[in-house]
Symmetry: C2
C-alpha cells in the first residue's frame, strides 16, 4: 500500500472551498459544502470525504448538479416540511433542510423534513449532529444509488441507505450513531477491492444470488447485502426500505432502482419516478419531553454505565461516536492523511480550475 | 414435538378478556389488552401472544402490574408528549399513548410520545399499525429486560428492543416492518432450547464473551447478540441503544440494566433510575408531506417494484409485513394453534379465576 500524505485541515478546507467556488457555488454555499464534505475526512470516513470531490465535480460537468440552487420549502405543516433541493449539492441542501427541521422543533417540539431533488450529502452523521447545539436529538437518513439486493432478490434495488441519530449528553460527549443499513458500507468493499483481499462472509452476493467473498462481486453484477448478512438480511432490508420511503416516497424524490447513480459515467433513469435523490431529517428538542438538565444527567449515566461494562479481554465497550470523535481530535491536530491516488485526483481538478492544493 | 390444538380467535379472545377482567382490568381495558395481546398470535409471533398471559398474571400477583391504571400525559408540546403508564399493562398503555401521538399528528403533522412507568406491550408491529387507519405512518419501539450484550461487553445491558414502522399504501397492502434489534428474537432462542437444537452462529455468546451455538448459553450467563452478529454487531447495538434512549431516557423510565425483568421470579432493581419500562411512539400524517393520493400511488409502485424483482430460484422478494398478514388471514379463518404446554398454562390460570377456555 502507498503511504499517505498528510494535509492540514485548513489547507484541505481552502482548496475544497476554492474548487466549489470555481464551479459556481456562491461563497456561503462553498463554505458550507466544504464543511460538510470534510466532516467525513475528520471523522475517519475517508470514502465519503474529499476523495469524492472529483466525483461531485464530474457530476457538475455532466450537468447533473446545480452549483447555485434555490433550496426551498414546497409543502409544510407546523412540524413537517418538504424541501426541494433544486438539484444542488446534498452537502448544501442537507444542512439547509435540517435548519428547517430545527426551526420547526423550536416552535412545536419536533421538526421532520423530507427532501427531494438533491444529491449525495456526505456522511449522515454530520447532518444528525447539527441539532445537538440546539439541545435537540438529530436524525438523518438518505437514499443512495442502488447497489443492494433485498433478501432473495437478484436485482439491486436499494442503496446503502444510512441512518444517523445524534443525542446530546451533559458532561459526557454526545452519542452519535451513523450506520449504513448494509453489512458493510460500499467504501469498505472498495478498500478490499484495491487491496485484493477477500470479503468477510455476509457482505456480498454474486449475480446469481450466491454468497460471495469476492471483492469484485458487486462490480460483476452481484450486490451488497443488507445488514444481517447471510442469517437475517430481512432486517437490514427492512431498515433500508424505511430510509428509502421516508427520504423519497414522502418527498417526491426517486426511490429504489430509480435513484440516480453517483458516478457521472452511469446515466440516471430516462423515466424517473421523482426528482433527484432524497433525504430525511428530524430534530427533537429534548426539553419537549422532560427538563433538559434531567435528560442530560440520565444520558450521562447511560453513557457511563455502558462504557464501564465488563468487556472481553483487551477490549472495552464503545459508545456510538467514540471512534469518530477520537479520530477527529487527532486529525484536527495532526492533519488528514490522503492516499497518493486521491492527492493526484485533487491536483488534477485543482489544475483545471486554477486552485492549488 | 407435541401437536398443537387449534382455537378459534373469538374463543381465545373471550377467554383472555375474561382473565384480564378477573384481575381487575376495567372492561374497556380488558378488551384493549386482549386485542393487543392476540395480535401477536394472529400474526404468527407466538412467543409474544397468549402464551404470555400467565406471565402478565404472575406480575400482577407480584404487585408489579396495575390492572386499573390512570394513563396520563405529564409533559407536552404541540408535537410531543410524555405519558405516564401508572404501572399498567403495556398492552393498554401502548395504544392509549399512540392515541396521543395520532391526535398531535392531526393537529401539527406529526406526534411523538415517550412513555414511562409501563410494562411489556406485546408486539411492536401492532402499535405501529394503529396510525395507518388515519392515513399516517406509525413508529413504535420499546425497551425490554436486559438480555443483550453490546459489542465487546460481557454484561447484558440491552433488551431485544424492537423497532416497528408501518406505512400506508393505496391498493397494495400496507408496509409493516417489525424487528428486534438483535440477530434473533428471544422467542426463537426459547424454541431452539425446547427442541434441543443448536443455534445458528451470531445469535448468542457465552458468559466469557465467546461465540456460542448452545441454546442454553443465555440461561447460563451468556447473552444475545445485537443484529449483525459476529461481523458487525455494533450496528445492532447502536439501534438497540437508540430504542433505549428514545423509550426511557426521554420519558423517565428505566433504561439499560435497570429495565425491570418480565418474569415475576426476578426482582426489579432496588435502585431504579426511572419508572417501569419505556416505549416510544410516532405518528406522521403522509399528507403533512405531500397529497395522500400521490404518496399512496408511489407507495404502491414501490411495493410492486420490489415484489416483482428477479429472485433466487424458488423464492420471491417479500415486502415487510407480507408473511404476518398471510398468517393472520389464515388464522382468523382456521384458528390459532397453541402448544399443549401453553393450553395447560391457560387452563391453570382460567381455573384460578373461574374463566373457561
Amino acid at each position: 500500500m502507498p503511504t499517505p500524505t498528510t494535509f492540514a485541515y485548513n489547507q484541505l478546507f481552502a482548496f475544497t472551498e476554492g474548487v466549489f467556488q470555481a464551479i459556481g457555488c456562491p461563497e456561503a454555499d462553498a463554505t458550507l459544502a466544504t464543511e460538510t464534505l470534510l466532516a467525513a475526512d475528520l471523522r475517519g470516513v475517508d470514502s465519503h470525504g474529499v476523495a469524492r470531490l472529483v466525483g461531485y465535480v464530474r457530476l457538475w460537468e455532466a450537468g447533473r448538479i446545480n452549483a447555485a440552487p434555490r433550496v426551498a420549502v414546497t409543502y409544510e405543516t407546523p412540524s413537517t416540511a418538504v424541501v426541494d433541493g433544486d438539484g444542488g449539492l446534498g452537502l448544501v441542501v442537507g444542512p439547509r433542510a435540517m435548519r428547517v427541521a430545527i426551526e420547526k422543533a423550536q416552535q412545536v417540539g419536533t421538526g421532520w423534513v423530507s427532501v427531494k431533488n438533491s444529491n449525495h450529502f456526505g456522511i449522515a452523521g454530520y447532518h444528525a449532529m447539527l441539532p445537538l447545539a440546539h439541545g435537540m436529538i438529530g436524525v438523518a437518513m438518505t437514499n443512495a444509488s442502488p447497489l443492494v439486493a433485498p433478501t432473495y432478490s437478484l436485482d439491486r434495488l436499494l442503496g446503502t441507505n444510512p441512518i444517523a441519530v445524534a443525542v446530546p449528553a451533559g458532561e459526557q460527549p454526545d452519542f452519535v450513531l451513523d450506520m449504513a443499513t448494509t453489512t458493510a458500507a460500499n467504501g469498505k468493499l472498495e478498500i478490499a477491492q484495491r487491496k485484493g483481499l477477500p470479503l468477510p462472509e455476509g457482505w456480498a452476493q454474486t449475480a446469481a444470488g450466491l454468497p460471495s467473498t469476492d471483492a469484485n462481486a458487486v462490480k460483476d453484477g452481484g450486490a451488497l447485502l443488507p445488514l444481517g448478512g447471510a442469517t437475517g438480511s430481512h432486517k437490514g432490508y427492512g431498515l433500508g426500505a424505511v430510509v428509502d420511503i421516508f427520504s423519497a416516497v414522502l418527498s417526491g424524490a426517486n426511490y429504489g432502482p430509480w435513484v440516480p447513480p453517483f458516478v457521472a459515467f452511469l446515466q440516471p433513469s430516462a423515466n424517473p419516478v421523482g426528482q433527484g435523490l432524497g433525504h430525511f431529517f428530524g430534530a427533537m428538542r429534548v426539553d419537549a419531553f422532560r427538563p433538559a438538565d434531567e435528560f442530560k444527567a440520565h444520558m450521562d449515566n447511560w453513557i457511563t454505565t455502558f462504557r464501564q461494562a465488563h468487556a472481553v479481554e483487551g477490549k472495552h465497550v464503545l459508545i456510538p461516536g467514540d471512534p469518530e470523535r477520537d479520530t477527529a481530535a487527532h486529525r484536527l491536530l495532526d492533519g488528514i492523511p490522503l492516499l497518493d491516488a486521491v492527492v493526484k485526483d485533487l491536483q488534477g481538478v485543482g489544475a483545471k480550475f486554477g486552485v492549488k492544493l
